[in-house]
């Protein structure tokens, strides 16, 4: 009963959250495709409405890269769009360096043809020895 009550209170505010998840997912898939990032991803979004203004923060982590953006707008999607835009600007600032890094890696892989294939595939994965409980600290 109480859960239903809370659901009704928050319905109007959260009605488009599926759209937000879909948007984030598409954005992440695009970055993975364009920059050849690994499959691991994580993102967090905060949307807050106070005094008629909506503020949002978005943190996106794909593989070894992480972006943070903030947005302030008249509604949720607008503020989230701004937060993502800020995050993608940070990405494009790093784009040239990342592109050169990828070219250098490709050249090295062409030169080093005798390297075992297993080791080459391992380089694109996150290290397995990451202790995930460390992420909960702080």
């Amino acid at each position: 009963m109480k859960a239903e009550k809370l659901e009704v209170v928050g319905r109007e505010f959260h009605e488009r959250r599926h759209l937000t998840h879909k948007r984030m997912e598409r954005w992440i898939r695009l970055q993975q495709f364009v920059y050849g990032l690994p499959e691991e991803y994580a993102y967090a979004v905060r949307i807050s409405t106070r005094n008629g203004r909506t503020e949002s923060s978005a943190l996106v982590t794909v593989g070894w890269m992480s972006w943070f953006g903030r947005g302030l707008g008249s509604d949720r999607q607008h503020s989230l769009g701004l937060a993502l835009l800020n995050a993608s600007e940070a990405l494009s600032a790093n784009g040239t360096r990342l592109f050169l890094h990828n070219v250098a890696r490709w050249l090295l892989s062409c030169l080093n043809v005798f390297r075992p294939r297993r080791e080459a595939s391992r380089r694109s994965e996150l290290p397995a020895e990451i202790d995930h409980t460390d992420l909960l600290a702080g």
Binding site: L6, F13, E39, E40, A42, A44, S48, L59, L135, G138
Partner: protein, 113 residues
């Protein structure tokens, strides 16, 4: 204050529900101590599922506080606990980023707070 929450799995066996619940309550109390959430009712939901393609488990964490605040995080990982840790780690990182920015905004040009 009232906290209502659920942890659900879709074709995924979930172990360590108590640990997850403790982490969620710690996160809520941290935000309430920092006066970010003044609301009396907080609802959270943790959902795990396994996508059709790929061997990883996806996790989704959602918080709602009185319709004014929405926090959600999503991550994937090799098992539910690791996916949960990564999503929760992202949420905590957002809090840290916000605290750092607030501290930075509170410092004047001479470096005094």
């Amino acid at each position: 204050m009232e906290i209502l929450g659920s942890i659900q799995g879709e074709n995924v066996a979930i172990e360590g529900r108590e640990k997850m619940q403790r982490q969620m309550r710690d996160f809520i109390s941290r935000l309430q101590k920092g006066d970010r959430w003044n609301s009396g009712n907080v609802l959270y939901k943790v959902h795990f599922w396994r996508p059709f393609f790929g061997a990883k488990v996806d996790s989704l964490i959602e918080f709602r506080a009185d319709g004014q605040e929405a926090w959600f995080a999503r991550a994937n990982g090799p098992d539910p606990w690791k996916a949960f840790c990564r999503a929760m780690g992202s949420l905590k990182q957002i809090v840290t980023e916000m605290e750092m920015r607030e501290e930075g905004a509170g410092v004047n040009e001479s470096g005094e707070t």
